[in-house]
Subunit: 146 residues, 2 copies
């Protein structure tokens, strides 16, 4: 049974937890190296979908570049399901920091990540991050907490 | 390599495509039967996360019950990665219908689904659906198309 195979779960957990330092330091290259060249991402900001390394680089430049100074990133409620070849993970994450326009950010989002092991290395082939929205107002729900 | 194993990919594709009829007919019981009892879902509407069959039933009652008459549901750009035990899939989907208040709905969302095979049957253990939001206005981007 997949979830009881401890090695791939530990490997994927380590890959995702490594993001805390990579995002704090705005290390785009290391973040891109976690993803497959053909990664498909559904991001919290438009468009509906992005594909490939160039699109990921552009997203990271906009996201990381929007902050003045470091970004604090913390993973909560991580759950990983994997065997030796295929895995997926989901977690909530909290982002805190200060935007270049001075605005303080402190928000929770959700993430789902799909991975395959290629040549012995886990690669993210799909990632989905979002916040819910309020159906009555159409506003993104940016102040939710777990 | 996972993606080249055609059987699990075909099985998961069939499970997901079956939703077209189940959602059209508002068949909550059959939709719930696709998910594991401990399913964790990140939905387009709050809260941040839900867990378990009761929470799923409540979500479906609100969602399906919000429509007057059938709901048209179409999957686009489906990609499935799986081996014999673990799989994940992502797709865009278009929902069209008429709300009970008379409002016409025609919107595109993104979905990611994680599955495990238990006792020979694929079960959805995680699902993430969302729309992006506009960072400048804070509004959910409900009019995006692929």
């Amino acid at each position: 049974m997949a979830a009881s195979t401890t090695d791939p779960v530990s490997e994927i957990t380590a890959l995702l937890q490594a993001r805390k330092a990579l995002i704090h330091d705005k290390d785009s290259s290391a973040l891109i190296a976690q993803s497959a060249p053909d990664v498909v991402s559904f991001d919290a900001l438009p468009p509906l979908a992005r594909q490939g390394t160039d699109a990921l680089r552009e997203k990271l430049a906009t996201w990381l570049g929007g902050y003045d100074g470091p970004i604090d990133f913390a993973i909560h409620d991580l759950a990983v399901t994997a065997n030796d070849e295929v895995g997926f993970a989901h977690y909530l994450y909290r982002v805190t920091g200060t935007m270049t326009d001075g605005a303080a950010v402190d928000m929770w989002l959700r993430a789902t990540v799909g991975l395959v092991k290629r040549d012995g290395v886990w690669q993210i082939t799909h990632e989905h991050t979002s916040v819910p929205f309020d159906a009555a107002t159409g506003q993104a729900a940016l102040e939710l907490t777990p």
